[in-house]
Amino acid sequence: MSVLSYILIIAGGIFYATGGLGLLRMPSLYTRAQAGTKATTLGTMLTLAGVIAARPEWTLKILLIMFFIVATNPVGSSTLIRSAYRSGVKPYGQPEVDDLSGFYGKEEEQ
């Protein structure tokens, strides 16, 4: 049981590490947010799964924590990206498609 929990926690740590590396390597705020959100979500879930493997009696509470993380983490990063776009942070390079351009201007005129 404890071997399984070690493996899960180390796997979680690897995802955390790549998330951090992604934050450094990605060229713009938007792409950085991508690396930050995803890696930390699975990293947290794997680490918590490791805790479940070590202490099965905490299962229900930890599942509840996982639920709250999955429900709130994407909302946070969406809000960050949305506010960045609204305040005019430039995306990386020349975007091939940009359906959002004009969306917020239109909203403010109304």
């Binding site: 690897i14 995802f15 790549t18 998330g19 590396l21 992604g22 390597r25 990605m26 060229p27 713009s28 938007y30 792409t31 947010a33 991508q34 690396a35 959100t37 995803k38 890696a39 979500t41 699975l42 879930m45 229900l60 509470k61 509840l64 999955v70 429900a71 983490n73 994407p74 909302v75 990063s77 969406s78 990206i81 949305r82 776009y85 995306p91 990386y92 390079g93 975007p95 091939e96 498609v97 940009d98 359906d99 959002l100 351009s101 969306f103």
Partner: protein
């Protein structure tokens, strides 16, 4: 009244999950939940019906496995993208049409898009979701929608969310 009871049930369920089952916890939990529900029921648009438990079971049984699989795929995708020395990205903002009617359905879809490979939802209006995509692939918007939200849209549509 219905909303008050719904809020009370949800608060109490969370309390029991966190505190465990024992007489003092159950009594205190009931009191706290009653107070919280009285404060919250006007703010939260939450209404449980007799169908809710079935919907919940269906959601956990069908949607969750697909979602978890996509989540793992997303993370491995990001992992290889970050570790690749060339850093293969081609970001863009894409508009995706959605047929989902309820706010809750759209919230679940937007959250799922955020947690799946290379995409973060940025904003939504009545019939579409705007998505930041790290590696735009495909020719037109139908193809984008199919690649990004096809699977989830299908399942959520069938659950009539």
């Amino acid at each position: 009244m219905k909303k008050y009871i719904s809020n009370f049930i949800v608060c109490y369920a969370v309390w029991i999950l966190l505190a465990g089952v024992s007489v003092p916890e159950l009594v205190l939990g009931a009191v706290v939940s009653a107070v919280l529900a009285a404060l919250l029921w006007k703010l939260l648009n939450l209404e449980l019906t007799w169908k809710t438990p079935f919907a919940l079971v269906l959601f956990i049984a069908i949607y969750l496995p697909v979602f978890l699989f996509e989540l793992v795929k997303a993370n491995i995708d990001v992992l290889f993208r970050v570790l690749n020395p060339k850093l293969p990205i081609n970001p863009g903002f894409v508009k995706i049409k959605t047929g989902l009617k309820t706010d809750f359905g759209k919230l679940i879809l937007a959250n799922s898009i955020t947690l799946t490979p290379g995409t973060i939802s940025v904003d939504a209006d009545d019939e579409s979701i705007y998505v930041h995509w790290i590696d735009v692939k495909g020719k037109d918007h139908d193809e984008y929608a199919k690649r990004i939200s096809g699977k989830f849209e299908n399942i959520l549509g069938r659950m009539s969310l």
